[in-house]
Structure formats: structure tokens, C-alpha cells
């Protein structure tokens, strides 16, 4: 009996969970930076 479906589903989860959290964190960081720069351009640095 092959266990590859179990293995592949674990790997899919193992890639998806960090990827979703990482992309969400980056998007949140960029959105905050963009809004901050729009209000006060001195915050660009």
C-alpha cells in the first residue's frame, strides 16, 4: 500500500501554511507603509 497521498497532503499543508502567513504579513506591512507615506512623506525612510 502506498502512503504517498498522505505524504503529499502533509507537504502541501507544510508549504501552504507558512506561505499564506508570510504573504499576509508582507501585504499588511506594505499596506501600512503605503498609508503612512501617503499621510506623511517623511516616513518613507
Amino acid at each position: 500500500m502506498t502512503h504517498m497521498p498522505y505524504v503529499l497532503s502533509c507537504y502541501a499543508l507544510g508549504v501552504l501554511v507558512p506561505a499564506v502567513f508570510g504573504i499576509a504579513a508582507l501585504a499588511r506591512m506594505r499596506a501600512a507603509t503605503r498609508k503612512l507615506v501617503a499621510i506623511d512623506p517623511r516616513q518613507r525612510s
Binding site: 500500500m1 502506498t2 502512503h3 504517498m4 498522505y6 505524504v7 497532503s9 502533509c10 507537504y11 499543508l13 507544510g14 508549504v15 501554511v17 507558512p18 502567513f21 508570510g22 504579513a25 508582507l26 499588511r28 506591512m29 499596506a31 501600512a32 507603509t33 498609508k35 503612512l36 499621510i39 506623511d40 516616513q43
Partner: protein, 279 residues
């Protein structure tokens, strides 16, 4: 950071404005308390943003590279187990996720300690941002463990000591996430969350030593600080790469979330200052 009752009504933005004033005008910043001067060097949000801006790309790149290497090696390069066959490859996801679940909670507890003892302003933010990430990695550990258990033990779940204590860890994370957001006054939420996190630390040694204290389905630890690992080197290296990669990814995600939280606070502070100036 601790909110002081002014007697003129509740001000949920008090912590935000205070931080933004310290951040925007260093001359107005109160001197750090003498007991935690060393720690408070890193409490300045501007300094944190500068340092994290340097560290974050390296953490993220290292995390992606090492995780890719470890998982790819584990899936395609590492040998199958003589008893478990290919199912042993789940270890390269499950074990690093479990390590991050525990390490994340330890980080959460340390931030809570810094918050309660030294009133470290970034520690509150860090604790709030670690919670959801730690919960996600704990859920990943439980899910992959459950998927691994189905072909090996014939069941998705058993009330085994290790699995039950990790489930309790997951609930502790969820409790922390809920508690810090449950109060109108964020400072009260931070305090309540910190107390919960410190109480929950008791669960960490229970998870670690559950396989020694009770007769469980899990095997004892294969890698320890003392003694040679009970694992062949062809399986050990991909596991170490995946573990290090997950650690870097976890760190990168948390640092990015804290940066976002600091920027959002600064934004709220600026908006409030403008609104007050316009009145």
C-alpha cells in the same frame, strides 16, 4: 506602555499615541527605567524598524531556501523507513512544525515576562503577533500528525499524552489570541494575555517529557542535546535543514507582523495628532 487612568474617561488609543510621540520626537521620550535600560534600548520602534529591516530579508530568504532544501530532500532524496516506508517522509514537515509550536510558545512567554516585569513596549506587540503564527504552526503539527497516524496507527486521533498536551497548547494559543483582543483597553488585554501565556508555560515540559512520563504511541526523542542522534545521517540532515528553515520562516513572519503592527500604530498616532490639531 502601561495605560494610566486619567479619570477623564476611557481612551483606547492612549497606548498608540504615547508610542507615536516617543517614536516621532525622541526629545520628548521619557528616560527608560534604570532596571531595564539594556532591554529598553530595543524598545524604540524606530530602532526596531531599522534593525528588522536589515534582518528580515535574510531571514525570509534563508527560510525559503532551507525549507525548500529540507522538504525537497526529505521528499525525494532521503531514504524510506524499513518499517514505515514512505510515510516517514511526513516527519520532515511534522517535526519542524512541532518544534516551532513549542519555540513559538516559549517566545510568547518570554515576551509576556518582559511585558509584565519591564513594561517593554515592543514585547506586547510581539506577543500579540506571535500568537496567531504559533497557533497556525501548532495546527499544522496536529494536522500532519493526524495524517501520519492514519496509515501508521490506523486512526486519525488518539488521546495519547503527547497529542493531548499539544492540543492543549493549541487551545492556549487560541486563548491568548482571543484574550488580547477581548478588552476595549488594549493594555488590559496585553496584561491578561501575558498572565495566560505565563501560566501556560507549565504545558511545555509536559509536552516535552510526555513520552518519558507516560506510555504513549509516540517514540522517545531521537535527537537530544546530549548523546548521538538515534537516526541515520541520511535522514538527520534533511530534518535539520527543514527545522532550520521553519525556524527562519517563523522568525521572518513574526518580524514582518511586528513591523506591520509598529507601522500601523505610528499611522494611528499620526492620524490622531492631526485630528487633535484640526480641532
Amino acid at each position: 506602555m502601561k495605560g494610566k487612568s486619567s479619570g477623564r474617561g476611557f481612551k483606547p488609543w492612549a497606548a498608540c499615541t504615547r508610542l507615536s510621540v516617543v517614536d516621532a520626537s525622541p526629545n520628548l521620550a521619557p528616560p527608560p527605567p534604570p532596571s531595564g535600560r539594556g532591554l529598553h534600548r530595543f524598545a524604540n520602534p524606530g530602532r526596531f524598524l531599522r534593525l528588522s529591516g536589515i534582518v528580515l530579508p535574510w531571514l525570509a530568504a534563508g527560510g525559503v531556501g532551507l525549507t525548500g532544501l529540507g522538504l525537497g530532500w526529505g521528499l525525494l532524496g532521503a531514504p524510506a523507513d524499513y518499517q514505515q516506508g514512505d510515510a516517514v517522509r511526513i516527519m520532515y514537515v511534522h517535526v519542524p512544525a512541532a518544534q516551532m509550536a513549542l519555540a513559538g510558545y516559549l517566545g510568547l512567554a518570554l515576551c509576556s515576562l518582559f511585558s509584565i516585569v519591564w513594561r517593554h513596549p515592543l514585547a506586547d506587540l510581539a506577543a500579540v503577533e506571535i500568537g496567531p503564527v504559533g497557533a497556525a504552526f501548532t495546527a499544522l503539527c496536529l494536522a500532519t500528525g493526524s495524517i501520519w497516524g492514519r496509515p501508521m496507527w490506523g486512526t486519525w486521533w488518539a488521546w495519547d499524552a503527547r497529542m493531548t498536551s499539544v492540543l492543549i497548547l493549541f487551545f492556549l494559543y487560541l486563548g491568548h489570541v482571543a484574550v488580547v483582543r477581548a478588552f476595549d483597553d488594549p493594555v488590559r488585554g496585553y496584561r491578561a494575555g501575558a498572565i495566560l501565556a505565563l501560566i501556560g508555560v507549565v504545558n511545555l515540559p509536559v509536552i516535552k517529557f510526555s513520552v518519558d512520563w507516560w506510555n504513549t504511541l509516540h517514540q522517545p526523542a531521537s535527537i537530544g542535546l546530549t548523546g548521538a542522534p538515534a537516526m541515520h545521517v541520511s535522514m538527520l540532515w534533511p530534518l535539520l535543514a527543514a527545522s532550520l528553515g521553519y525556524a527562519c520562516l517563523f522568525g521572518a513572519i513574526v518580524v514582518a507582523r511586528i513591523r506591520a503592527a509598529v507601522l500601523e500604530r505610528r499611522l494611528r498616532g499620526l492620524l490622531l495628532n492631526r485630528a487633535e490639531a484640526a480641532r
